[in-house]
């Protein structure tokens, strides 16, 4: 074994499964072969609230090739604690698009045709699908995700606002957004006696296995979930979605392997979305810009099926110093699908509001927005009092300002014109927690000089398979070419899911320590690998319990230049720069793409994306890729992501913080702030659509420049 090779963490190692992906050989869930596969097409509810009065499958069953029609009338009851997954369990309809039946057939065409012929009778009830300010049904939940108090208070925020020299009191709204991973949620389910194998598109095969086992009353050991390649998730595949249960139900019902891939249209109903939000932010500062009060009050939606309370105001508990502070969340249970996880839940919408308000405060104080943020840096986590494991948001702002060319910026809004364009620049800070969760891994040396690492991690496009290869190679002291990383299969050692930017930190900890253990065992064996190999296993549960108390977060700064045409309302973003402090970056190539991808989603949050609720019929009006505008390459121009070196010893063996989500945090605020700088008008409702710009064109100072 060599030990004097260069470290491979930090280098730009090529994606290890990249070759399979560019040649089309990488297999995704729907593409696994099996004998005699039956096809499943779900029937979506046509109403938003009510009771099913009858299901007539006659015409559907008459379609040649149809095997069965599943509904609450004949489907076996499912267990488990997620009502979104207990499909066909009752005659109640809780939202439009909810699965009320499904057709299983020999061919996809037969199933799709028959699904249209399943006659479902409804007793519809009046529904309410619109979040609006001060909704009469709004209530304070017991907790917000994942387990934060819904309300926090420090000092006397009302008194401090009353005494403040400068105040800002504004309300921002964000619409619903859909994750829209490119790969639709899909599952191929294969039963063998009472054992179930699911080839599935998810963000964690251990999690999906445990859920399936609970749903069907099986032991986890009777279920295997296989997911080596997943075509994106962005949170929507973190909580298992109904298609995995449906495929397993259908396969058992017909005694054959069965597979289902949701259509893009149906994904808008049953795979989760980011809740819309109404956010009031009040800030109070002294004349020098030092904040004395910060209040962030959020209203958002949940469903009647289960409570999902996004932690939108939580970043306002740690981002800035202010001795008087109030954060609150209220939710309304509407007749909608349950909102779910979407990239940077909490931080993404919450920091949009907070960082927009900070820009308004900077203007009100006559301060540069970077300087305002520097003046309000907290020495320690303001609410918990914990020390920061590391906090380099000021460095990100300063370095970013230099790279972006911020110096000498004229703060006057609405005064720069270039032809038909009004030009402006904006900045916002970003943050995301750096956490890790227990995971197990094994590392094995074989006599051929190779090493195999096993862990039920997920690579949903993040690059985790590659990062884990690098982490293992460094821990073993061997070149990465000698390391095989096996992930994406619940038969591998149990791992946490890919979510909360915790994946690589959680799995990498287990992998690194398993490799260290293996090295010790190898050294104990005199460096010789026995004929039948040698293996070590590591479980990080105890390490994580013993983690010292620190406030651990990644930070960043986002800079945007925008051009606004007040005649058409068009907004372009010629430049976007993100600068991040996220511990040690494990792979320069995959990390940069993650950051830029997040920033692009943030740009789209600001300007392009929006799921419009259908007030009349329920569900969403725009439910395909023709009407929901996922950004195309022409929507983005020059996006750059950089990072600053950060040496944080309080994180994990790699010294890394998660990077999958922070890229989307703050982008929309930076763009909105730049739009204000360009036009002199604040747009506080996202997305900043052309029609919204035109509506306020008379207020745009530059129009008559």
């Amino acid at each position: 074994m060599t030990t004097d090779i260069e470290r491979v963490t930090g280098t730009a190692l090529d994606r290890v499964e990249g070759r399979d992906k560019v040649t089309g050989l990488a297999r995704y869930a729907y593409e696994y072969p099996a004998d005699d596969i039956a096809y499943v097409v779900p029937v979506p509810a046509a109403i938003a609230r009510g009771t099913i009065t009858g299901i007539d499958p006659g015409d559907a069953l008459a379609v040649p090739g149809v095997l069965t029609v599943l509904s609450f009338r004949n489907a076996p009851p499912l267990a488990g604690n997620d009502p979104e997954l207990r499909i066909f369990s009752s005659d109640r309809v809780s939202y439009r698009g909810q699965m009320v039946a499904a057709v299983v057939a020999d061919t996809l065409e037969a199933a799709a045709e028959a699904a249209r012929l399943v006659h479902v009778g409804y007793d519809a009830e009046p529904h309410d699908v619109l979040l609006r300010p001060d909704h009469p049904e709004a209530y304070v939940p017991e907790k917000v995700n994942p387990s934060f108090p819904a309300v926090s208070e420090q000092g006397d925020v009302e008194a401090a606002l009353g005494d403040a020299a400068v105040t800002v009191d504004t309300t921002y709204t964000t619409p619903a957004y859909h994750n829209n991973a490119m790969e639709p949620h899909a599952t191929l389910a294969v039963w063998s006696g009472d054992r179930l194998t699911a080839y599935d598109s998810n963000q964690g095969s251990s999690t999906a296995r445990d859920m399936l086992a609970a749903a069907f009353g099986l032991e986890p050991g009777q279920v295997r979930v296989v997911s080596p390649h997943v075509g994106g998730g962005f949170g929507s595949k973190g909580t298992p979605r109904p298609q995995i249960v449906l495929a397993a139900l259908a396969a058992r019902a017909v005694g054959r392997p069965a597979k289902v891939a949701l259509t893009r249209q149906h994904m808008f109903a049953v795979t989760g979305y980011r809740t819309p939000s109404i956010q009031r932010v009040r800030l109070g500062a002294d004349a020098s810009g030092r904040m004395t009060a910060l209040a962030h009050e959020v209203e958002e939606q949940t469903s009647t099926l289960k409570e999902f309370a996004e932690q939108t105001a939580v970043p306002s508990r740690m981002m800035y110093a202010a001795p008087n502070r109030l954060t609150t969340h209220r939710v309304v249970a509407l007749d909608v699908a349950t909102p779910s996880w979407m990239r940077a839940p909490g931080e993404c919408p919450g920091m949009y509001a907070l960082e927009s308000a900070m820009d308004e405060l900077a203007v009100a104080c006559g301060l540069d927005p970077i300087e305002l943020r520097v003046r309000n840096e907290p020495e320690e986590d303001p609410e918990s009092g914990l020390p920061w494991s590391s906090r380099n948001v000021v460095a990100c702002l300063r370095e970013g300002a230099a790279w972006f060319g911020w110096a000498g910026r004229d703060p006057a809004p609405g005064v720069r014109r270039d032809g038909r364009w009004l030009v402006g620049t904006g900045v916002a800070a970003s943050t995301y927690p750096a956490r890790r969760r227990p995971s197990e891994a094994t590392a094995r040396a074989t006599a051929d000089g190779r090493f195999t690492v096993r862990i039920a991690a997920a690579d949903i496009g993040t690059g985790s398979r590659t990062a884990l290869t690098q982490i293992a190679a460094d821990a073993l002291g061997v070149p990465p070419e000698r390391v095989d990383v096996r992930i994406g299969d619940s038969a591998l050692p149990t791992a946490s899911l890919a979510g909360g930017s915790m994946g690589t930190a959680s799995w990498g900890s287990a992998v690194a320590m398993a490799c260290v253990r293996l090295r010790e065992r190898l050294d104990g064996a005199g460096g010789e690998v026995p004929e039948d190999g040698i293996e070590a296993r590591y479980d990080t549960a105890d390490d994580i319990k013993a983690d010292a108390a620190y406030a651990r977060h990644a930070f960043g700064a986002q800079f945007a230049e925008v051009r606004v045409d007040p005649g058409t309302g068009e907004i372009r973003v010629p430049r976007l720069l993100g600068v991040f402090a996220a511990g040690r970056i494990i792979n320069a190539k995959t990390a940069r793409s993650q950051f830029i991808g997040g920033m692009t989603m943030g740009l789209a949050m600001a300007l392009l994306e929006e799921s419009v609720p259908d007030a009349e019929f329920g569900g969403f009006l725009n439910h395909d890729l023709a009407q929901y505008h996922v950004p195309a390459n022409a929507d983005v121009a020059n996006i750059d992501a950089r990072w600053i070196e950060e040496d944080d010893p309080h994180l994990n063996p790699m010294g890394s913080k998660g990077i999958g989500e922070i890229g989307i945090v703050g982008t929309a605020a930076a763009i909105g702030n730049a739009v204000h700088h360009a036009t002199g008008v604040r747009f506080r409702d996202l997305p900043i659509r052309p029609d919204r710009v035109l509506d306020r064109a008379p207020q745009i100072g530059g129009r008559n420049l």
Partner: protein, 158 residues
């Protein structure tokens, strides 16, 4: 109905094809070629881009019968044995691949662009890829891959 076509140079026959089936369905479900992806079924995302008689199409919008007698090339047909096509090589080198679901369509679209326009201007690239959505990368590394493949010309085969 029966559909006979050539895919990646091999004659192929699909029997019992329903008249409403797409070329994409025939490729993926009948011929065992799942490289072209099904992500929207309405020609919005480009994940199913393949060559049909030398022209790139969204295979989800082509009826199977329209491919009768046609030459189809999919992402599986671009590499020469173990030697990647220069476009595939550039996607790897530039880090243009993340989840990989849009990748097959993009690789075929870029292959077509560079075959027609070996040294494309930025606007040519953006126009050619206007119909290919990627949710992961933000396009920066994909555009870098196109530039890299163009710079290398035909020399990037590996």
């Amino acid at each position: 109905m029966r559909v006979e076509l050539t895919v990646n140079g091999e004659p192929q026959v699909a029997d019992d094809v329903w008249e409403g089936e797409s070329l994409l369905y025939v490729l993926r479900e009948r011929l065992g070629l799942p490289g072209a992806k099904n992500a929207c079924e309405q020609g919005e995302c480009g994940s199913c881009t393949v060559y049909l008689d030398g022209t790139v199409v969204c295979a989800c919008l082509v009826a199977a019968g329209q491919a009768e007698g046609a030459e189809v090339v999919t992402v599986e047909g671009l590499a020469d044995g173990d030697a990647l096509d220069p476009v595939q090589r550039a996607f790897l080198d530039a880090g243009a691949v993340q989840c990989g679901f849009c990748t097959p369509g993009l690789v075929v679209a870029v292959h077509d662009l560079l075959a027609r326009t070996p040294d494309p201007a930025e606007a040519d690239v953006r126009e050619a890829l206007a119909g290919n959505l990627c949710r992961c990368t933000g396009y920066e590394h994909i555009l870098a891959a196109v530039r890299l493949a163009a710079e290398r010309g035909g020399e990037g085969r590996s």
